[in-house]
């Protein structure tokens, strides 16, 4: 695809430095790229690559601004030298912005209609009544039903998808020439993401705006981008048309990034490992040496999971219910009940991995917590190794705690920030009175090595580690007690793509080595295909479909499973699923 | 200790009212009084009850003096003058016959009768009233002879009877009004120069002129606004900023400051006096030598200077003001500051190594803590370690009444200008000090009984000299100093006469009908 000739936005040699107590850090280093009229440029990078700072610095919204050098030319004007008053005229009218978290980006104390009216009244001479009428029309346009009523709603009264639609309405209200969208769909469920992207590009086509789309998700990039800018540690490592970037990346980082992105359409190969990115820091402070690593498949498995029926399941969940009572009436009767888990049956065989997949609010984490005996079911039973989990106490409960471990989603929250990682890892041993202090130390050192960390790290605190490293520490902690069953609750969701692959590989390796049984809870279908033996799809507290992994992917029975599968962004370049289709918004309103 | 609104009983002391400002009287007479106007008066006392028989602090005295009238009263020179009784006769030492004024009416319009007098005096005697003058009148009988004549008799000769009945607390109330269920604590119906217009307990009272007052030409003021301002700073600042015309209880630190200012006048004279009370039942304070040692150790001049800024005359002898007829000059320098003597007395008592004890001190007022600290420093010189323990008033009362103290700093106000007050202070049957700790000095008891039984002044002088000698010898209290009580007012406030001694608290009340604003 050839690029339209005239650049709307031209970033030239943008460099941003921040001064902190610790010294000066260069957040953005000599950045140059262009966005032409009507074009979609994707800014791709992992966390900390500087992509969001770039987006904000175009609108001069970084606070405090830091040292900014270079030029940001928009329609011929250098935005970096404009007066603050002129910038306020540019913001919202010429260039608008969509943020990642619709909950935090909308003012919680202001009606959504008023938030749209505000942007209209800043930039145009309109009466409040007219502005409101236009706001309602806009809400209607972005697919919000009963727009006149919803205009009077507060953000918290709307669902995540609806909030993001409101954001889009705000961003489009003044018909901007350029929309900067900063991870606008990352916080959304995959099915909602599809609808919101649909709407976004619909609107873009209608307004003829250009778009700078910031994302970490190559799947999304493949579906939407004209031009891709790949960032790494504040620099551009590569840019070019989307086909070139995805099909024939020139830079090792891009190549590794593309390779490590899981492919939802690739059939499961038992023992196969995900490609990873290997980073070797260079001594002179320049960019590290990066290469893509494709591990050899593990051909032999220590313990092939026993097929159903031949042995007893390790975990048996029977008609499990979990209700949360939010409010009681005067008489003490519950009046507001959330039924998080509604009659779930599930069996997990020893040595196997079962993936529990569902969108937010489906009850999958509650189910996991019940299985780990961190929550008490309202009804139904969970049997672990033949024993009813709810009835465990004393020594039996202690044994259960050794056998069952959980790995949590957020590696920043799951490690006690005030304890050295060695302590955290050996806590389980200390609680259960296993081993002497020296033995523990050696054991922890061993574990650290096993999860790919250096034994010297034992006396460090969690904040000294990156997210991926922390998740490895959490895994080491879970393994310290030699558990039989591990619940991984969105254990890789918070990690960058490259790190995610490494952690998944580690989990797979450990499963081989120790014969672990996994319950792998995830919202992301693309990672589970390679990783799990069986898949259970959960929706609104119920399991709608359960079966062998390949069966589910190849021949989904339930309509919801099919919708989920369809919504996963594919990293197939040139697909451009959303571009220029001019779909009617009616399709975008489904499922809200 | 009449500073706050705490309830105190009156007392009589061997002193007639001292006139401290005769020149004032002259200058007042030289000017022509004006009628009308409002006096804004700030008082430290938070008066919570207007019951004219139950003591409620110094401003209470002023208020009831203005609202009610006793049978007889005190003139500015301390002599007894007619009030509701236009004349009286004393047929013997036990009896007084009062002849009432004609046509006196209460504020509600009912006429005053002899029956009201009988009712009032019996109300004072009735233990239920808890009246201030009850102990002085126990056993007295009141007889209505005719509508305007009343006879009051005591079972024994009583030299103090007339002086007692002349106190404001001897107010005559209306029988009909009280028996009609009126709350005398919050309302007032008297025969005084002013009637009560507004009253909020502990906050303010507004008095209006009683046009039917039985003294012609009085009162001169139309209105008296009494504001009860406990905070010294607030009271003084209100005067300085012109929000008040007159304040009582000028803080000692401010007496000189205000005196130096051209638009204010400050009158002060001795009133209450400060003491160290011993619990004579506790060792080692049962030994008079120890108590005398304390009396020698205390540097009264230092206290007068530090705590009272020179406005607190030291008491080296008995607490009788020098202008009292009962003043004995040769006793006046009895205890000079003499640490050596104190040490040797302690040694005699077997306490050469000194002793430790707790001095109970009221927490609410700076002069107490300051005085206590000087005493503490003085005692340290003779090897006595005093620990100051600050207590609130309720606690102090409880300790006093149960005798749970070694020693306490206590302020005593003089209420009656008669030396019979010693019986109240030291008498074995008086619950004021002696009874709760079981102190009984037979020598003193005899002397006090004699003093009360005779009405011949010369005899009484001799008896009370012996009383004072005995008190100094045994030193159940260490008398420390007089507290000067000062009133400060704007120069345009005229007609005020400041009285000393026992009438100090009543000064404003006595002057009020004659006062005016220039």
């Amino acid at each position: 695809m050839s690029r339209p000739c005239e650049p709307l936005l031209s970033v030239e040699g943008l460099t941003i430095k921040f001064h902190t107590g610790a010294g000066t850090t260069t957040a953005i280093d000599d950045l140059s790229f262009e966005v032409r009229r009507g074009e979609v440029v994707c800014l791709v990078g992992e966390s900390g690559s500087g992509k969001s700072v770039t987006g904000l610095s175009i609108l001069r919204l970084i606070d405090p601004p830091g040292d900014v050098a270079g030029r940001v030319l928009f329609a011929g004007r250098d935005l970096l030298t404009e007066s603050e008053a002129d910038m306020t005229a540019v913001r919202g009218r010429d260039i608008s912005m969509i943020f990642q978290e619709p909950m935090t980006a909308l003012n919680p104390a202001m009606r959504v209609g008023d938030q749209i009216v505000e942007v209209l009244r800043i930039h145009e001479q309109v009466t409040p009544e007219n502005a409101m009428a236009r706001a309602i029309a806009l809400l209607d346009r972005v697919g919000i039903q009963d727009a006149a009523v919803r205009a009077r709603a507060y953000p918290h009264e709307l669902s995540g998808g609806m909030r993001q639609r409101v954001m889009i309405a705000i961003a489009c209200a003044a018909k901007p020439k350029l929309i900067i969208a900063d991870e606008p769909t990352t916080a959304l469920d995959v099915t909602v993401q599809a609808q919101v992207l649909d709407l976004l590009f619909d609107m873009q086509a209608e307004l003829g705006s250009a778009m700078l789309f910031i994302t970490h998700d190559l799947g999304v990039v493949a579906e939407i981008a004209d031009h891709v800018v790949v960032m790494y540690r504040g620099r551009i490592v590569e840019q070019g048309p989307v086909e070139q970037i995805l099909r024939a990346p020139r830079h090792a980082y891009t190549e590794a990034l593309v390779a490590s992105a899981p492919d939802v359409d690739a059939p499961r190969v038992p023992g196969r490992r995900f490609p990873t990115i290997d980073v070797t820091e260079s001594a002179d402070g320049d960019l590290p040496v990066i290469r893509s690593v494709r591990p050899e498949p593990v051909t032999r498995r220590a313990a092939e999971p026993a097929p159903a029926g031949e042995t007893v399941p390790l975990v048996e969940i029977d008609k499990l219910h979990r209700e949360f009572i939010l409010r009681y009436s005067w008489a003490g009767r519950p009046t507001d009940v959330v039924r998080a888990v509604r009659g779930v049956d599930l069996a997990i065989w020893p040595g196997s991995t079962v993936a529990l997949v569902g969108e937010s609010g489906s009850g999958k984490s509650t189910l996991g917590r019940c299985v780990a005996h961190l929550d008490t079911p309202t009804a139904g039973s969970i049997r672990f190794d033949g024993r009813n989990v709810s009835a465990l106490d004393g020594a039996q409960l202690k044994r259960f705690r050794r056998d069952v471990q959980t790995i949590f989603q957020d590696p920043y929250a799951s490690l006690n920030p005030r304890r050295r990682i060695g302590q955290s890892i050996s806590d389980g041993l200390a609680i259960h009175g296993l081993m002497s202090a020296t033995e523990r130390r050696d054991f922890v050192a061993d574990l650290l090595r096993r999860v790919g960390l250096r034994p010297e790290f034992v006396d460090r605190y969690p904040h000294e580690f990156s997210g991926g490293q922390r998740q490895r520490i959490a895994i080491a902690r879970a393994l310290a007690l030699s558990p039989r069953f591990v619940i991984a609750d969105e254990a890789v969701s918070a990690l960058d793509m490259s790190v995610r692959a490494q952690v998944l590989n580690l989990l797979a390796d450990l499963q081989e080595e120790f014969g672990l049984t996994f319950l792998f809870i995830s919202h992301d279908l693309s990672t589970v295909r390679q990783f799990s033996d069986r898949i259970a799809i959960m929706r609104r507290g119920e399991i709608v479909e359960e079966g062998e992994t390949e069966e589910i992917f190849e021949d989904p029975k339930h309509e919801y499973t099919r919708a989920l599968l369809k919504a996963v962004p594919r990293i197939k370049p040139g697909r451009n699923a959303y571009r220029g289709k001019g779909r009617k918004p009616s399709s975008a309103t489904m499922n809200e | 200790m009449n500073i706050t609104r705490r309830s105190f009983h009156y007392a009589t002391l061997a002193s007639l009212a001292a006139i401290t400002a005769p020149q004032l009287g002259r200058s007042a007479a030289a000017q022509t009084p004006k009628a009308g106007g409002t006096l804004r008066y700030g008082t430290v006392t938070e008066v919570t009850s207007l019951d004219p028989h139950v003591y409620n602090g110094s401003a209470w005295k002023v208020l009831i003096e203005a609202l009610y009238s006793p049978l007889v009263g005190y003139a500015a020179d301390g002599t007894i003058t007619p009030r509701l009784a236009e004349r009286w006769e004393q047929p013997n030492a036990r009896t007084i016959i009062f002849h009432l004024r004609q046509g006196v009416k209460f504020h509600d319009g009912t006429p005053l009768t002899a029956d009201d007098v009988k009712f009032s005096l019996e109300r004072i005697i009735d233990p239920k009233t808890a009246a201030a003058l009850r102990t002085n009148l126990i056993g007295a009988t009141v007889e209505v002879i005719d509508a305007t004549t009343v006879k009051v008799s005591q079972p024994q000769p009583d030299a103090t009877l007339l002086a007692i009945l002349a106190l404001p607390e001897g107010a005559i109330v209306s029988r009909k009004w009280i028996e009609g269920g009126a709350n005398a604590k919050t309302a007032a119906n008297g025969t005084g120069p002013f009637r009560l217009d507004v009253y909020e307990p502990a906050v303010r009272a507004v008095l209006k002129k009683n046009p039917a007052y039985f003294v012609p030409g009085q009162p001169r003021l139309d209105t008296v606004e009494v504001r009860m301002i406990k905070s010294d700073d607030a009271r003084v600042n209100a005067l300085r900023s012109g929000a008040l015309d007159m304040i009582d209880f000028v803080p000692w630190k401010d007496i000189d400051v205000l005196s130096r200012m051209p638009n204010f006048k400050v009158d002060s004279s001795g009133g209450a006096f400060m003491n160290v009370w011993f619990n004579t039942a506790h060792k080692p304070f049962d030994d008079p030598r120890v108590r005398r040692a304390f009396a020698y150790a205390v540097d009264r001049a230092a206290i007068a200077k530090a705590a009272f800024f020179g406005h607190g005359a030291p008491i080296f002898g008995p607490p009788t003001p020098s202008d009292s007829p009962f003043y004995v000059p040769d006793l006046a320098q009895y205890f000079k500051h003499d640490p050596a003597r104190a040490r040797s007395l302690l040694a005699e008592a077997g306490l050469a190594k000194g002793l430790d004890f707790e001095l109970i001190v009221y927490q609410g007022l700076g002069i107490y803590t300051t005085t206590a600290q000087v005493i503490q420093a003085n005692l340290k010189e003779i090897g006595v370690n005093a620990t100051i323990k600050l207590v609130e008033w309720a606690n102090l009362m409880e300790r006093k009444n149960s005798g749970s103290y070694d020693a306490m700093l206590y302020g005593v106000s003089m209420k009656v200008p008669d030396p019979d007050a010693y019986a109240y202070y030291f008498g074995a049957e008086s619950t004021y000090w002696a009874k709760p700790i079981g102190n009984r000095d037979e020598v003193l008891e005899k002397l006090l009984a004699d003093g009360r039984a005779t009405t011949v002044t010369a005899e009484r002088k001799a008896i009370y000299r012996k009383v004072e000698e005995r008190l100094l010898e045994t030193s159940p209290w260490v008398f420390v100093n007089f507290r000067e009580q000062a009133q400060a007012y704007r120069r345009n406030v005229k007609g005020y006469q400041h009285l000393g001694g026992a009438l100090n608290e009543s000064s404003a009340g006595i002057s009020l009908p004659a006062m005016w604003i220039d």
């Binding site: 909308l106 104390a109 918290h156 | 102990t135 919050t186 406990k230 009362m397 008086s430």
Partner: protein, 318 residues
């Protein structure tokens, strides 16, 4: 929302019942005898007189009986009579409470009027000299004991400049002008003291809010920094400030003793303190009970105010 408030109300009533028991017990177990205080220096030491008055006042009954009597009277709206003045406690409270509320309200207004701008400057200019100065001015307000700042106020405004009365209270219907003139200094004294709390709370809450995406979003819409601050950041940042102002207002009910004494303002605190020192049980109980009751009303008002500012509170989703 109604249910939310009603729920709070009922649980507050339980709290209040609990509180009244605590108060009753602590008052009656206090050393110091109200009877002695009634009888005074001399009669108070006469055991017979004490016993008689004690019986008259019903203070000789077992504590639970006394409590039940008192509580049932309270439920009938009778708080008893002051032991000192014989006045109904209700009448006394009816006079004092409005005055207390007046200076507290005035003080809070002063605190908010000065505190919020200071806090806003301190948050906006964090890391700059102006922010530092704003912070220090705010902190300075409550770093001085109120009796020191109060005296300084009197010195300046009353004795030096002669602008305002140094102290006193004049009823509103007697003389409205003087009434408000008297009100100024005590309110400013409370306000200066409390301004720091408001400013600090505003500052930390605002710093938090300013980092929120919706503030950035507001600027991305084209609002100026100031507009984003006043329209988006401040309203949200004020939610916790409202709570602190309300709670503090409650605390001030019994906490303005020094100000009331300094400025001779006959409010609830000084009544409570003088009743405490005199062991005037009915008045003490009445004061505390009304403080609790006002506390409850204030906390309801906080809830309502917060729900106006923050709609999330209304539905309880926060």
């Amino acid at each position: 929302m109604h249910r939310f408030v009603a729920h709070r109300f009922v649980s507050s009533l339980i709290t209040m019942a609990l509180a009244s028991i605590v108060v009753f017990l602590s008052i009656h177990l206090l050393p110091g005898d109200p009877v002695v205080m009634v009888l005074g220096e001399q009669a108070g030491a006469d055991p017979m007189a004490v016993a008689r008055v004690r019986a008259e006042l019903g203070l000789d009954l077992p504590l639970p009986t006394q409590f039940v009597r008192w509580a049932s009277a309270v439920l009938h709206g009778d708080l008893g009579h002051s032991l000192r003045s014989g006045e109904p406690v209700v009448a006394e409270l009816a006079r004092r409470i409005p005055r207390s509320l007046e200076i507290i309200f005035g003080g809070l207004v002063a605190a908010v009027v000065f505190g919020i701008p200071l806090g806003t400057i301190a948050a906006r200019d964090r890391g700059r000299v102006s922010g530092l100065i704003a912070s220090i001015v705010a902190i300075a307000g409550f770093s001085a004991p109120v009796f020191v700042s109060g005296i300084i106020l009197v010195l300046i405004f009353s004795l030096w400049l002669g602008l305002l009365p140094s102290s006193g209270y004049v009823a509103l219907d007697d003389d409205p002008l003087t009434h408000f003139a008297c009100l100024v200094l005590p309110c400013v004294a409370i306000g200066i003291n409390f301004m720091g709390v408001v400013a600090r709370m505003t500052r930390s809450s605002l710093i938090d809010t300013l980092s929120k995406d919706y503030v950035r979003m507001a600027r991305a819409k084209g609002l100026t920094r100031g507009q984003a601050m006043t329209r988006h950041a401040l309203p949200n940042a004020l939610v916790p400030v409202i709570a602190i102002v309300g709670i503090r207002a409650g605390n001030l009910l019994g906490g303005t003793v020094i100000v009331e004494a300094l400025f001779d303002w006959p409010g609830l605190s000084s009544l409570l303190v003088s009743a405490c020192f005199a062991r005037d049980y009915p008045v003490m109980q009445g004061c505390l009970l009304s403080i609790f009751a006002i506390f409850i009303v204030i906390s309801l008002l906080i809830d309502i105010a917060q729900s106006i500012v923050d709609p999330r509170v209304r539905t309880g989703t926060k």
